[in-house]
Each structure stands twice: as C-alpha cells, then as structure tokens.
Amino acid sequence: MPGRGTMVLMQLALLVALFVAWFVLVKINILPIFFFGDPVLVLQQVFDWIISGEVFVHLATTLIETILGFLIGIFFGVAAGMWLGLSPIAAALLDPYIKALNAMPRVVLGPIFVVWFGLGIASKVALGVTLVFFVVFFNVFQGVREVSPVILANARMLGANRSQLLRTVYIPSAMSWVFSSLHMSVGMAFVGAVVGEYLGSSRGIGYLILQAESTFDVNAVFAGILVLTVFALLLDLTVTLAERRLIVGRPN
C-alpha cells in the first residue's frame, strides 16, 4: 500500500486522466459533442461563473435552503421520533401510514410544495425538511425503542422521574442516533434544495442547471453538475469535521 501522499497524487492523476479521456473521446468524435460537451469549455464555464461571482449567489441560496431544511427536518424528526417511540399506542395506530409515507418516493412531493409554497425558498426548504424528517424520524424512533433497558433501570434506581428520564436517557440516546445519520440528513437536505430548485426557481445551483438545459447548453449543464459535486463534497467534509468535535461521547 503506497503512502497517504502518494495515494492522493494518484487519485488526482486519475481525475486528470478522466478529463483527458473525455477530451480525447469527444475530439475524435467517439462521444458526440452535442451530448457530452467539451471538458475545456465546461471548465471555462465554471471559471467564468467564479470570476463574475455569479455562482456564489446561487451557492449561497442553495446553502441557505440546505441548512434550513436540515435544521427544521432534524427538529421535527426528533420530536416525532421521540413521541412515537415513547407512546406505543400512537405508534401502532400510525404504523401503516408511516410505512406508506416511507415507501413513497418523497421527491414527488416537490411539485405540490411548489404549488403550496411558491417558487421562492420555502418550497425547497419544505422538500428538504420532508426528506430529512424521515431519515431522522426512523433513526430516533428506533433509537428510543432500543434504549438500553439496563441504563433505563439504572436511571430509575438513581431516582429519575419521567421528565428526567426523557432528558437524561431518551434524548441523549436519540441524539446519538441522529449523529449516526448526520451525513445522510445533510445529503437529503441538499437533494431537497437542488431538486426543488430544478422544479422551478429563480436562484440556486439547481436553477443554473435548469436554465442551461432549457437552452441546450450542455457545457453549462456539466459545469453545474461539477459545481454541485464539489459543493456536496465540501458539505460532507464540514459534517465530518463537526462530527469529530461532537463525537467524544460515543464509542468507536
């Protein structure tokens, strides 16, 4: 196994090789340029967006939508997960509905949210909230029902009343499940924002791609996808860093 530095260099070389292959395949007409674009022009487009500052406006919009979708989704997911986890009757009653909602591909709610909340930021946040909610909800629901019975019994022996049990056992234990789904939640909030924008908007990275597509500018579409991917990687990295700071209390 080569060292870490060498590996990073090799990974970068692979990236360059992919671009070169793309470039060559398009140039010798094996890949039609109309559908696959020109990598040089794609990079040029990204560069232009950065120079003009245009891309930052869109990034900021998508970022705000992502953060709001994430936070609100977490809040409702935790609240609903705790509630249903702690009241077996409500959980049993709602069980088929939860299963149905879970089975449904929830991005199809996007158009309805556009109708309800308009073309502004709210419909994107709503879609993000929906996607995040279910990830968090299921984790917390499961987490609450699987709280270690010994830890619960111990807390009760130490004199905890119901609300103290909630605060010192159920919530922290649920939060550790939220942590374990952090990457997924942030990813979902991001998907909600971008798909929402793509369905109708005037700003955001999804909008950039939508606009390029409507003018058959395939280079701009690829440029948009490139920006999207880099941004998603940065978001994921941020989550990893945040995790490292918060994770002290969790084994492994």
């Binding site: 010994v150 111990n154 807390a155 905890a160």
Partner: protein, 281 residues
C-alpha cells in the same frame, strides 16, 4: 424514669424486632409459562451482609430485580423495613450485572447523575462526585467517557454512582465477576471497608462460593431453576474486620466452605441428573 414504659417484654421486642431491611415472603416469579422463582422467602436484616449463591440462570438477577422494585412478583410480596414495596425501592441502590453507565456522560457526570435527579446544586454534586471517584481509586479519570475506561474502572464508576446516593440497602448483582483477580480482591476489601463504615444492608449476588463466604454474614444457597428457591442457609461467623484474601486461609473458612459445598453438591448433582434426563427423553 417515672412513667411506666409498658412491659419489659415489649421494650425488648421494639428494640430487637426492628423490621428487616428486605423480606421476600413466598415470592414466585413467572415469565409466561416459565416459573423462574418459586416460593422464595429470604430476609436481609438491618445492617446485614447477605450473599445469594446459585448456578447461572437460576434466577438470582430476577430476585434482585424484585427487591429493587423493577419487577413485580407474580405471587407473594416483598417488604422493605416492614412496609410492602410498591414501585421502585427508594431505599436501595442497585449495582447491575451489565454495564449501566451512560455512554454519553463522563465518569464524573455519571457519578453525580443521581444527585442531579435530586436537584443538588452542581458545585456541591461535583465536589462530592470527585470525592467518590477518589474513593474508588479513579483520581484523574473524571473527564473520561465510559468507552475510554477499562471494565474494572467502569465497575468502580458504577459503584461510586450507586454509593454516592447513600442508600440504606445495596443490591449487587455479580459486581466483580468480570474483574481480574487483583482488582477483584481490592474492590472486595474496599466494599467491606465501606460497608463497615456505615453499616448498610447488603444483598450480594454471586456464583462464586468463596467470594460469598469471605464477604458475608450469611450465605443463602439457591436451588437450580426452574422454580428456584433457597435450599440452605449458613451463618458465617468469621471475625471482622476481614481481609478477603487472608480470611480464605483460615481453618474456619475452609471448614465453612466444605460444609456449604457438601450441601450444594447434592443440588448440583440433582440439577445435573435432571438435565441428563431431559437430554435422554
């Protein structure tokens, strides 16, 4: 004294017949159709150290859960200082067999959990918590999380967490069975010192006969399950204070061990035969 105090008989009764810390009265526990414990009557006197010995899976933890009020007996009743127990036993501290520390709390915060439930001011709770951590030999580990501590250290944190509440009754479920021999002897001696210092009532569960004899005032032997119940009881008249490793060398210890083992052997053989028959049929 001028006023008549009633018959001397009564006075003596009031003095000596102080209700026992724990009294199991004909307790039966069933899980579905399986009878784990059947007609068990056990008492633990005030300030007494009682051990229960029995084979694994016979129902020792079940009995302790009944004493803690975590499990209601199917039949019979349990009383605490003469009062029938209803709900959690508030007089008791419970050292569980399994790991019961909160993984998201540091050692210190685990130790003071019970004080926080009582709304003791944080400063005061933390100060007491540090004292207890020092007492169980964990100075300098206050900020560690359970997964950063060894099994023995976690048991000590759990011990501090239970004892800081100053319970009158301590229930211990095979607390030292997972420890290495040295740590175990250290902790057994520490436990005896703590118990001598403020005369708690202890119900101690173990499957280790030597541990039971070296710690206790009385050892109760349980039959093998199902339908577990006490089959014999031995008063341990070894002098106190004891050193758990030294006391094992004394002739009286060896004699007691021999006696109890003879009584147990029959039960062990019975259980063995029963198993063989089950296997054969």
């Amino acid at each position: 004294m001028i006023a008549p105090l009633g018959k001397p008989d009564d006075a003596a009764k009031a003095g000596t017949s102080k209700a026992p810390a724990l009294a199991f009265d004909q307790v039966t526990v069933r899980f579905g159709s399986y009878t784990a414990v059947s007609n068990a009557s056990i008492t633990v006197g005030d300030g007494e150290f009682v051990s229960i010995v029995g084979p694994t899976g016979c129902g020792k933890s079940t009995l302790l859960n009944v004493a803690a009020g975590l499990l209601e007996p199917t039949e019979g009743e349990i009383s605490v200082y003469g009062k029938e127990l209803d709900g959690i036993n508030r007089q008791a501290g419970y050292l569980f067999q399994a790991d019961a520390l909160m993984p998201w709390r540091t050692a210190l915060n685990n130790v003071i959990t019970g004080l926080q439930y009582r709304n003791v001011p944080v400063r005061e709770a933390e100060e007491l918590g540090r004292k207890w951590l020092a007492r169980v030999g964990l100075n300098g580990h206050h900020e560690r999380f359970p997964h950063q501590l060894s099994g023995g250290m976690r048991k000590r944190v759990a011990l501090a967490q239970t004892l800081i509440m100053d319970p009158k009754i301590i229930l211990m479920d095979e607390p030292f069975s997972a420890l290495d021999v040295q740590t175990r002897v250290l902790m057994e001696n520490e436990l005896l010192a703590l118990w001598m210092a403020d005369k708690k009532s202890v119900l101690f569960i173990t499957h280790d006969l030597e541990e039971a004899i070296s710690l206790s005032d009385r050892v109760i032997i349980l039959s093998a399950g199902p339908g577990t119940h006490p089959i014999a009881e031995f008063v341990i008249d070894l002098p106190r204070p004891r050193d758990v490793s030294e006391v094992r060398m004394t002739p009286r210890f060896v004699e007691l061990h021999h006696q109890i083992w003879e009584a147990m052997r029959e039960e062990v053989l019975k259980a063995y035969e029963r198993n063989q028959q089950k296997l054969a049929s």
